[in-house]
């Protein structure tokens, strides 16, 4: 059991869904089943985290052959990076299910369970083809959630996100296939396991194209500026549970992909791409924030906010020093928490007012103080207020940026300015002042507070006591970073 714990973590939601589906379970049983699977997975993940050795490398590894002749293996494992994302996924599913408490459409529940399997598998895979499989699996539930259950121009937007993402995935697939072939050519057997493939070296020209294939997929996912036009429409039309996972997890998987596969397979070539990506990230930081200023739809506004912070994470990743890397990892975690909070709040807004247009809202603070408190808290966490985890992360990245280069540091520090551009005016129009409609609505119920409280607590703890968390990932992160630096000699 312990041996296979990661497999259990990946497949439990899927199996629950299949079982319930097979028996055409009634909605109540479906809800119980989904809730059970998420909590059980969470417990398993916590157990894994508890037994995780910060100084070990990849742990709880399982490597079995899958399709023998073609070298595709079932190869999973967890290290400091995957652990963080794994924890996030498992932590965020139960609150989402609590949010979906009254949801009677079965599709929601099935899709979310499938989604959990997809993202968990993607983050734990160490075999390229297995990773690709899960990467594609994530898309199907999103396609259905947006396409069937979304609002606005949802079918068009669903197609847009799917097609653009697949375009990237396709180029990644080409690269994967070619790499596999090169491995076969040099070594004589087929294998797509990361540990085998990372031993390969390619000539410069080939590797530039191969890396481009991978980077395209991840750049679209993050999204970096220029590859982002799918994001706002998709977030705007998406139902809350899907948008939370998209913002909190899937976008981070783009970063994860570069971190895990990019650095393992193409460390030298990434130096070639680094200036471009850093530039795109710095532009994105401000581009998204400025765009968000005049956005009236709350979901789209925080889609742009998400893009801005993800650009910052990407920036940190390519700065290859200890501070920037730690900051990026920390921001992955804290941003996921904060963005979950804010999107849930937006969802709650929709439930009460039937709209997420800022121009139709206002005056909430007079009637619903608890609501106001949580909303403001999450908004300020996103803005990186000290006391919340976001500040620690941004501080680390800024310091890392200055260590690399003075001007990059200056531009990175603009993250202090970026979030406030849209957040304060938004809070003013949404929560304060006079109401723009006469809806009769309630403040947060106990269930809703219970759902949000863990997020608040985690954000505060990550902000006040980062030293609780840093020892978990620091040793391995320093080690991996050192390996990279040995190969590429640091940046600038």
């Amino acid at each position: 059991m312990i041996d296979n714990i990661l497999s259990h973590i990946i497949f439990l939601p899927l199996l629950t869904a299949l079982l319930l589906g097979l028996f055409r379970a009634k909605i109540t049983y479906l809800k119980i089943g989904a809730m059970f699977s998420s909590v059980a997975t969470l417990l398993l993940v916590i157990w894994t985290a508890y037994h995780f050795d910060p100084d070990g490398g990849m742990q709880f590894v399982k490597h079995s052959p899958w399709i023998q002749n073609t070298g595709m293996s079932y190869f999973i494992g967890v290290d400091y990076l995957s652990l963080v994302i794994l924890l996030l996924i498992s932590l965020l599913m139960p609150p989402l299910y609590i949010y979906m408490y009254h949801e009677k459409r079965k599709g929601y529940w099935y899709n979310m369970m499938l989604l959990q399997t997809g993202v968990t598998g993607a983050v734990l895979s160490l075999d390229l083809v297995l990773f690709y499989l899960f990467w594609e699996t994530m898309l199907l539930p999103i396609f259905i959630m947006i396409g069937k259950y979304g609002n606005g121009l949802h079918q068009y937007n669903s197609m847009k996100i799917i097609l653009m993402t697949i375009m990237g995935s396709m180029s990644m697939l080409f690269s994967i296939m070619y790499i596999g072939y090169v491995y076969f050519d040099t070594v004589g057997i087929w294998s797509f396991a990361l540990t085998d493939l990372s031993t390969l070296t390619f000539n410069i020209k080939t590797s530039i194209w191969l890396t481009a294939g991978f980077l395209l997929a991840f750049a679209i996912k993050i999204p970096l500026v220029g590859f982002h036009t799918w994001m706002a429409p998709a977030y705007g039309s998406s139902p809350t549970p899907a948008v939370v996972i998209m913002s909190a997890i899937m976008a981070k998987l783009g970063i994860y992909g570069i971190w895990r596969f990019g650095f393992a397979l193409f460390d030298t070539v990434l130096v070639y791409y680094a200036p471009t990506i850093i530039m795109l990230a710095l532009i994105g930081l401000l581009y998204y924030a400025i765009r968000a200023i005049t956005e009236d739809n709350l979901r789209k506004m925080f889609a742009y906010s998400s893009g801005s912070h993800l650009s910052l994470i990407a920036l940190g990743l390519f700065l290859t020093n200890i501070y920037a890397w730690s900051g990026s990892l920390y921001l992955i975690a804290t941003h996921a928490l904060a963005t979950t909070g804010i999107f849930i709040m937006i969802g709650l807004t929709y439930k009460r007012f039937r709209t997420v247009q800022i121009s139709a809202l206002g005056g909430i603070a007079s009637k619903a103080p608890k609501f106001t408190f949580f909303f403001t808290f999450f908004a300020l966490s996103i803005a990186g207020l000290p006391g919340t985890g976001g500040f620690v992360a941004e501080l680390l990245i800024i310091i890392g940026a200055f260590k690399a280069n003075f001007w990059i540091g200056v531009l990175t520090a603009t993250t202090m300015l970026s979030a406030m551009l849209y957040i304060f005016w938004m809070l003013q129009r949404t929560l304060f002042g006079k109401a723009n409609n006469d809806s009769d609505y309630e403040d947060l119920s106990l269930r809703e507070v219970v759902m949000l409280l863990p997020l608040v607590i985690l954000l505060l703890v990550t902000g006040i006591m980062p030293s609780l968390f840093t020892p978990i990932f620091e040793p391995q992160l320093t080690a991996s970073l050192q390996e990279i630096i040995n190969v590429i000699g640091g940046l600038k």
């Binding site: 103080p369 408190f373 800024i398 304060f432 006079k434």
Partner: protein, 625 residues
């Protein structure tokens, strides 16, 4: 212990906040007052205990709470340091803070957000104390930002009125612009000193490791942070608008404490600033300019709180003049005295406002000296203090600053400072005479003032009258006690007693001149300033600075955002996507035409295909040979 001074207010804020959110309608007056006022009182006592310890000659007291973060060489602890500078600061911050809390208990009594108010107020106290007691730049920055947060929450306290929220936003945003510079400074500082510890003491010890250029940059960027926090040019525009908050907020945050954080910061980093006197001169110049600028505007304002707000900005200018020129102790001394009389002035103003049922225009007041006798007398004392009339506190602190300017041969700064001194006396007495002396307007019966509001006034008046002697120079019989105690690296001055007396006398003369002018113009019949000349129009509109910012910064941002939304995203990035789609569609149409269903065409295709393949196989791949 030392940490309790900071932790208790945060804890009480948390508790009160949770209780308040539990049921916002319940009145729990006693609970909130006991905790809300009691905790700052405890912090005051603790501060005094530590103050006495240090007075007795003990070394700076440290206390580490726990390790905050440890990544690479970035090891920061949540730790506090009570050295002479911080102990002076926390003494008056907690003392005056507690007085203002007591005042607020009276002022905010009727308000339904009473609990929320005290939660925010205590949050502020905790943050300010964290800022001052932090033993490293990062914790100071955390306090710095949290103070900005508290300010935001408190300015926007009356949240039903959207304009208050705009003021709150303005405060936070401009603070953050300053913080942008501040965090760059801290990062640079850390990177330059990497590996050798990052507390104030260790930075001070290792300062020689940093080259002069970087040091200059750090000094300037730190001051950018101060510009935002302490409302100096150009980041000051939030301060007048911040008066939208309840008056106790204005008293505590925007007079006595938060805004002085910038001055404290320069004093704390004095070991950097002594190395870069050019930056110091820059700071002093900005201070002088802000002082004069604000004084001019204050002379034409009609809202009692706004006059006091500009007055604060002006006095802050003096403080920066001092620390910029290297007279760190004098700057801190002026912070100290200013806290007394400015808090008093604001609280007095609040009392007048409440008595007149929330009237804030001084020209709608008048002749109150008999009905509000206590307020009148205490505010008179404060006005004398701020105008620099001896033996009240303001004289000694302001005098010290002007003497520094004169003695270091910065005569332009000195003359600006002296001119501003006259203007200060003028607009302050203008306020006093208009409110208390000039002809009364028609009004209802005055609202009674509770003792919680009047007692602090008396205490502070006493303070304004006496604390000046703590810093009196030898020329006046004192021994510059506070300068010696603070032991900051002040610049040494060479000036004879005779010159000091002359300058001091000049200050008094200017003060009296301003007072007399105000008396002449406003004591009998006070009239609001009219926009009859271009100069007046410009000044009454505060030099149109807000409009300029709106035009050059806000508008471009909005235009840019719109541009991205309407042109860049849809036409350029999406345009690229649509180009692909168009291409696919065209190709599809083309391929469509090949499939015409006619069998002989298909036969042709087979022919072509087989021919090409055969050619390739036979000739290129040489299958047959």
């Amino acid at each position: 212990m030392l940490s309790l001074i900071v932790i208790l207010p945060f804890l009480s804020a948390f508790i009160m906040g949770v209780v308040y959110l539990g049921d916002t309608k319940k009145k729990r007056y006693l609970f909130y007052t006991l905790i809300g006022v009691g905790i700052p009182a405890i912090s005051t006592v603790l501060s005094f205990i530590f103050g006495i310890q240090l007075l007795g000659g003990s070394e700076p007291i440290h206390h580490t709470l726990f390790q905050w973060i440890s990544i690479g060489d970035f090891n920061i602890e949540i730790a506090f340091m009570a050295d002479r500078l911080s102990v002076v600061m926390i003494s008056f911050i907690t003392f005056i803070g507690t007085l203002i809390h007591i005042y607020a208990a009276g002022y905010m009594k009727e308000d339904e957000g009473y609990g929320k108010f005290f939660a925010y107020f205590n949050l502020f106290m905790g943050s300010m104390l964290l800022l001052v007691l932090a033993d490293n730049p990062i914790m100071m920055f955390v306090g710095w930002e949290l103070v900005g947060l508290s300010s935001y929450l408190l300015i926007g306290f009356y949240h039903k009125e959207s304009s208050n929220i705009t003021a709150a936003n303005k405060a936070f945003i401009l603070n953050r612009v300053g913080d942008f510079g501040f965090i760059m400074a801290i990062s640079l500082l850390f990177i330059s000193l990497e590996g050798s510890g990052f507390t104030f003491e260790s930075i001070k010890a290792n300062i020689s490791m940093i080259d002069h250029e970087t040091l200059t940059l750090i000094g300037i960027l730190l001051f950018v942070g101060a510009m935002g926090k302490s409302a100096q040019i150009p980041l000051y525009v939030w301060l007048p608008d911040a008066m939208a908050g309840p008056t106790p907020v204005s008293a505590l945050i925007h007079a006595a404490t938060m805004v002085t954080a910038g001055v404290y910061m320069v004093a704390r980093y004095s070991f950097i600033y002594i190395e870069i006197p050019d930056v110091g001169l820059f700071i002093a110049s900005i201070g002088a300019a802000s002082a004069l600028f604000a004084a001019i505007i204050a002379s034409y304002q009609s809202d009692i709180k706004k006059i006091l707000a500009y007055s604060t900005m002006s006095q802050l200018g003096y403080m920066f003049m001092a620390v910029g020129l290297g007279a760190y102790s004098s700057g801190i001394f002026h912070v100290f005295t200013h806290a007394f009389f400015k808090a008093l002035l604001f609280m007095g103003a609040g009392a007048v406002i409440i008595a007149l049922h929330h009237e804030q225009n001084i020209f709608k007041m008048g002749g109150l000296k008999k009905e509000l006798k206590l307020v009148y007398i205490t505010m008179f004392i404060a006005t004398l203090a701020i105008s620099g009339i001896p033996p009240f506190a303001g004289f000694f602190s302001k005098d010290a600053i002007l003497i520094t300017a004169f003695a270091s041969e910065h005569y332009i700064l000195w003359s600006i400072g002296s001119l501003t001194a006259m203007l200060t006396a003028f607009y302050m007495f203008r306020l006093l005479f208009t409110v208390f002396h000039s002809q009364p307007t028609q009004r209802k019966k005055l609202h009674a003032l509770p003792a919680t509001m009047t007692t602090p006034l008396v205490i502070l008046a006493f303070g304004s009258a006496t604390v000046g002697f703590l810093g009196a120079n030898e020329a006046y019989g004192g021994n510059s006690w506070i300068n010696t105690f603070l032991a900051l690296p002040d610049r040494a001055l060479n000036i004879s007693h005779a010159t000091e007396y002359m300058l001091g006398g000049l200050n008094v003369f200017l003060g009296l001149l301003g007072m007399g002018l105000a008396y002449k113009l406003f004591a009998q019949e006070a009239q609001e300033a009219k926009e009859d000349s271009l100069f007046r129009k410009v000044v009454i509109h505060k030099f149109y600075i807000d409009e300029i910012y709106g035009f050059f910064i806000l508008k471009p941002l909005l235009v840019l955002s719109d541009f991205i939304a309407k042109v860049m995203d849809p036409k350029i990035f999406d345009g690229f996507i649509y180009l692909n789609v168009w291409g696919y569609r065209k190709a599809a149409v083309l391929f469509n035409r090949l499939q015409n269903g006619k069998v002989r065409y298909y036969a042709l295709y087979i022919l072509i295909g087989v021919s090409v393949m055969s050619y390739y196989l036979i000739l290129k791949l040489k299958v047959m040979s």
